[in-house]
Homo-oligomer: 339 residues x 2
């Protein structure tokens, strides 16, 4: 008798605009049995991240879309339940990319053992994982903050933004955070130590940002897009750098964008201010990962870099939590505790 | 009795949109007399370049605008007529930034002696001057062409574009030129050796560009803006580099640009393709000038890099020639032979 005790969430349909619960389907399947050279993993934590919105669409992106009826993809922390692989033994904890499910088979490819992890295991999905590395590599390699420069980042209480601000300050730059609403602004200021915080929901957002950046902006770490860009753009200094790692504000957009056409003005300033815009995905900088884990690990352990997690219990709650993430409802790195 | 034998062209008014002859005024003034430490220069050649359109506007750019009633600025090759400066003697030829006039005083600041110049003196304003250096520094430092990559540049028969294409080929890349009309296309292909040339005036421009770039585009050297961008943009490969040195197609534009808004799509692709857009002005790379003069000088002398000049006689013809330059009427580097 088969045991239906693997739970998984598949893409039921592609969203048009904002995703809804209908786009996901929860399924119970048999627990898979590892073959020769395989490992059965039990998922402990699942990371939910804005990039997943892109994978739900059929449009070309930097990665292939998730197929309809396939398991939603995602980074996970998992424990080896049963191993028929020579390099793994039951009980070991690994970083994997097992997606939205309770169990997964692996042949070991891409698994990273989390031995002697310096912080709670969930941080392997956050401040010491993909979001933290996105902040670290994008800010230091593309942004290259210098002493006294002004670094601006949005979603400043979020997983990437909070790390950007703290690393900027560790490098001697002034960190200005942008966040939505008084709660997130207070967290960015009080918990993550931004030098100034501006609320993008305020009707005086543009003026507030000007006041917070009296010397202009040298680095804008772009992880949101949308109207924040319009406030930031006029304040960019000559030779400003703009690492672009996310555009959450436009992920749900569909069709043609209404005018006026902002591109000619952006191009004009790219030219007249010698701006650098550079899109990136953290895996491009994978060669920096060991240095990141060492340096960022020390910062986290010493408290020089703080982090906040929003841990939601139960895989079945992932779709709703993910939609809330796109809506900007959560504070800190969103992680599902699967088991 | 004063001798009114200095001729100069001043900015009479700021253009709205396309400049007209009314925006310029020709004046006769006294020949200036050099004081202690000064030099009197007689201008031999005046360079006319698209960037001058920016200087005619009051809008902020990477340089201050020309004031109303001030001499239009510009790079020049000049001969020392009289020197009261210890470092210069009559008869010497120098590169200067003396503007649209027949004579100028200088205190020696910024003058570069053109001793043993390897090519005709006018090339100090073209292939071995600012436009050639713009091509060299922008392509090699920002573009970084690699063997087998595809480099696209517009205004391919022009001073910058023709140099970009030839340097790209010398570095082992495939050079695809874009030019307006059959004459310029033929020059780009036959004289400058582009691997493929596409006419942006053709109704099948977009399809022709796709056919010319079967492996996509790795570097787009942006020196024109406008509709060429719309053809190039969808063909950019992941990790493509876009040095931006000019936007001649939009220099005359005024007011708000009509929609749709192209920026969100550009931002999306910057992210999903890890694109680099980088505005620059050649003087940022001035430390490379000696290497440029040596390497490019050899290429020019050996014929590995060819160039074409459009030399117009008479300072009084500069305004009309300049307007024609913005209209795309000339072929090759536009230079005024002043005396």
């Amino acid at each position: 008798m088969a045991l239906f005790n693997n739970t998984r969430i598949v893409l039921a349909s592609r969203p048009i605009g904002r995703p809804s619960l209908d786009n996901f389907r929860i399924e119970q399947t048999e627990l898979p049995v590892p073959g020769h050279g395989q490992i059965l993993l039990r998922i402990l934590y699942l990371s939910l991240d804005p990039y997943m919105r892109g994978r739900m669409s059929a449009a070309r992106s930097y990665a292939a879309p998730v197929e309809i009826a396939a398991v939603m993809e995602g980074g996970t922390v998992a424990q080896v339940v049963e191993s028929r692989h020579p390099d793994f033994v039951a009980g070991e904890v690994v970083l994997s990319h097992s997606g939205w499910q309770s169990h997964a088979l692996s042949d070991g490819t891409g698994l990273v053992k989390l031995q002697n992890w310096p912080a709670p295991l969930s941080t392997a999905l956050g401040v010491l994982g993909m979001p933290g590395f996105t902040a670290y590599a994008g800010l230091l390699t593309i942004g290259q903050p210098k002493q006294g420069e002004t670094v601006v980042v949005a979603a400043a209480s979020g997983a990437v933004g909070s790390a950007v601000g703290q690393i900027a300050r560790l490098k001697g730059a002034k960190a200005v955070g942008i966040a939505g609403g008084p709660t997130k602004c207070a967290i960015a200021r009080d918990e993550f130590g931004f030098d100034a915080v501006v609320d993008h929901r305020s009707p005086t957002f543009a003026e507030d940002l000007i006041a917070a950046c009296p010397d202009g902006i040298d680095i804008y770490f772009e992880n949101v897009g949308g109207k924040v860009w319009d406030g930031v753009f006029p304040l960019l200094n000559s030779f400003a750098r703009i690492p672009v790692c996310g555009l959450i504000a436009q992920y749900n957009s569909i069709g043609v964008f209404e005018g006026p056409d902002r591109l000619p003005v952006v191009m004009r300033d790219i030219l007249s201010k010698s701006l650098t815009m550079r899109g990136f995905i953290q895996r491009e900088f994978v060669y920096q990962k060991p240095k990141f884990l060492e340096e960022m690990g020390q910062w986290v352990v010493s408290g020089a870099v703080r982090y906040r997690e929003d841990i939601v219990d139960g895989l079945q709650n992932a779709p709703e939590a993910f939609i809330g993430l796109l809506d900007g409802n959560n504070v800190g790195k969103l992680v599902i505790r699967v088991s």
